[in-house]
Amino acid sequence: MALRRTAKSRTAEFGSLYRGREGQWSWIAHRVTGVAIILFLFAHVVDTALVGWGPNAYNRVIAVYRNPFIRLLELGLVAAVIYHALNGIRIMVIDFWPKANDVNRQLIYATTGIFVLSMIPISFIIVTPIVEKYFFTFPSWWPF
């Protein structure tokens, strides 16, 4: 009960953590992508460490990455790393140059824009082999 009272009075005193606009969404996205990356990293250190147990062990575990569903998760991982990196740059710009906070909203749209633009070719590069393996072959002019 004591905990509940503390929580309530904190909210009354400082307001909620959530301000409901672009800044809130970039803050949530930074946390979600960060947690996703560290949880993957925990597993990824173990699967990479198997290289120390020889080719049989390593090649067997790395074959998991050839699975088309895992490929989509891989695309998500690449997206998470790139978003976290771009948004991290924005956070540091604001930390070290407080005047930039006046254009925080514009900076958020800029990082989101760069993120979306960079994910377009990357998505085609990662998804094209899955489509070619399971669905159809792209014509020769297809750039990916």
Partner: protein, 152 residues
Amino acid sequence: MAIDTERPKTPHRKDSLGTGLPYRAGRQRPGKGGEFWWWVFMRVSGILLLFLAVGHVLIMHVVGSGVDRVNFAFVALRWRSPFWRTWDWLLLSLALIHGVNGLRVISLDYIRRPGLRIAVNWLFNFTGVILFALGSIVVFTFDPSKWPGTGT
């Protein structure tokens, strides 16, 4: 960020949400102690990880047919170079510390019971230390000549 912010004696004229601080005051920086050094570490490691992590992801997952080409022989060839061993070890250590500290910062916001929070963070730290040891040993002791004919 779970940082104690001092409320100013007289609220700012553009008071935001009753904090006494202006809406555009920006993010409060932890002033002193361990929390300040973690703040510094997150930014320094963040800048390094911009190159280490983004470079790693682009090299291993995007260019040159991505993970399709990754197998034991690929790693054996790559780790012949001390450059890539150093790269991978730096990425391992910085990403683990950056990530585990990130989890700690998030836990301060969502786990209010101190005992539970300490237990959860102990689990994260323990996982981080074990994986750091495992990864470091493999990066520095890996020797493909133990499996002749399979490496390069």
